[in-house]
Symmetry: C2
Subunit: 336 residues, 2 copies
Amino acid sequence: MRQPTLVDIARRVGVTKAAVSLALNGQPGVSAATRERILAIANEIGFQPSSAARALTAGRSGAFGLVIDRPARTLGIEQYFMQLLSGIQTELAGHHVTLLFTMAENADDEIRMYRQWWAQRRVDGVIVVDLQVNDRRVGVLEELNMPAVVVGTPRGSGSLPVVWQDDQAAVQMVIGHLADLGHRRIARVGGYGKYWHSALRSASFTEIAAEAGLSTATAEGDYSAGYAAGATRELLESERPPTAILYDSDVMAVAGLGMAQRLGVSVPSGLSIVSWDDSALCELTHPAVTALHRDIAAAGAMAARMLRKMAAGGAPGNFGEPAPELVVRGSSGPVG
Amino acid sequence: MRQPTLVDIARRVGVTKAAVSLALNGQPGVSAATRERILAIANEIGFQPSSAARALTAGRSGAFGLVIDRPARTLGIEQYFMQLLSGIQTELAGHHVTLLFTMAENADDEIRMYRQWWAQRRVDGVIVVDLQVNDRRVGVLEELNMPAVVVGTPRGSGSLPVVWQDDQAAVQMVIGHLADLGHRRIARVGGYGKYWHSALRSASFTEIAAEAGLSTATAEGDYSAGYAAGATRELLESERPPTAILYDSDVMAVAGLGMAQRLGVSVPSGLSIVSWDDSALCELTHPAVTALHRDIAAAGAMAARMLRKMAAGGAPGNFGEPAPELVVRGSSGPVG
DNA sequence: TACAAGCACTTAACCGGTTTAGCGTCAAGC
DNA sequence: GCTTGACGCTAAACCGGTTAAGTGCTTGTA
């Protein structure tokens, strides 16, 4: 029950494996008649070329890699990554490229992974997420001369191409919405400032709020539900509590909602809540959570497309995602 | 900047690549002195064998595959799969095996994927999840003679080894808990009966509740938050509404909680809620959701271990997971 | 002294593809 | 009639490893 090879086909047709290879790859050098016989037999026995043999001659593996180094127990990453993965897959599936997907404990593990994959020629490139300020991965990838595309932030990616989102426009939309509702003291609960996207969001948030004449507070933590709940409690129990909070993720927003309810603060009359990422989770709570909606799968697909181009020797430019959409639901309302 | 090969090392040491291969693999046939020089050089230039070349001679790819065929937009799968993936990875990482991970649109796509992976020799085996009654995948995998391990259910896996969970014991715990709290009319909102785990849970639920003298209702749907919310509304608005509902997933439970609150039914005094899978999501709602907790990552790791054994020609037996633990939180209480 | 046994290494084949050079055949062109 | 060129295919090398068989040298032994 061995898998059929070129030689098997060659034997049955009565030619050499070289002829079979040419025929199957649409190269000139075989007559139409012979080509047809070869294709017929190949089809009949269900021939598929060995990926290993292909990889060996082509000098490329036909696979890309993606590593995430947040631990699996942190809630709140699943939504985003599943959608991103889904988008990447749809792009790669049509091109016979597979995706190696792994989780790492920390940045060092992740870098080790990259070096190993590259040295073993297991992947032709990687997609990098969660870029940090002074991210060591960028330097390593540049040094290895390894094709890589960054997803998320417009900054800090060195020479690597980027699929970036316009966080400033997003902040503008949210603050506009809240200001229209009469809010004057707003807060934001986000991720650590070491992540570029957090840092950029924080900067935009403070700046744009100031322009609109709103006072702000910002809390930064580990993206976990627990952190968001704690930060929410602190904000609500402070001297002058905010009347609206923007959370960096859907899970944090839902955790904040839970905490507000626990403290007897009604939403939205006592507190408006807005979530950065949208998901089904935002729709199923009571009240449903107002959220910034963007097409994460599309970003993943674009990143995969750029990486394919890069692995083929090209140099794709950066790509800016379309501005997100603000989906207004029950969790945001006029100051009560 | 080519990656170093055996020949590069051989040239520098002054031997042939055969000697280098023997030395690096710890085979006899090279003197201790030569072996040491070879290892030193290999280490110095950071030699790693090409996975493609290895795969070609070894006749195996050094990779396993996992396909999920629920669409990415269905919320509620992320928790489970991220934990499962994480467990699989930890087991495989130490053995230089990688994981190909893909999403499919439906069972046919998934089967196509298996056939393609196997024909191209991209994977040495697969992990199968979400087994259905009369699942066509099992037959295909058996026919292909492709190593595969099933995660989830004790039934319907044909000749494939299984990592299974004892749903009956779990149901017993939940019903015992609810009966102790004085509940007499309970319901369950689960997945479609075409999935083995749903079917088995439904059977156990009805049977064990009957033994305990409780009346039951069961709703089956697509595992989505929207479905769970709708089913909850129907149950609560029925003639004789249940006083407790068991949901098949954390997301469904949270959706049910949201719906109850929307309808003005207070939890737990008006309705007790229990979730089958536990996650941070269950902790962050108000009230927090009572849940069955099990170690999904451990199950993933076990499945990976069994698959490694199987790919090596062994025949691992089935493995039963330890019984889950019932984590009682605020969403379940005495009948009010 | 001769022969066998071991050791350390090389040669060469193999895995399953791709690719280049070369060879025989045939028809067109001068 | 002879060259030229195109065509259709084969032979062989190559990718980067692994491995069985073979070779030359040293050592032990009858």
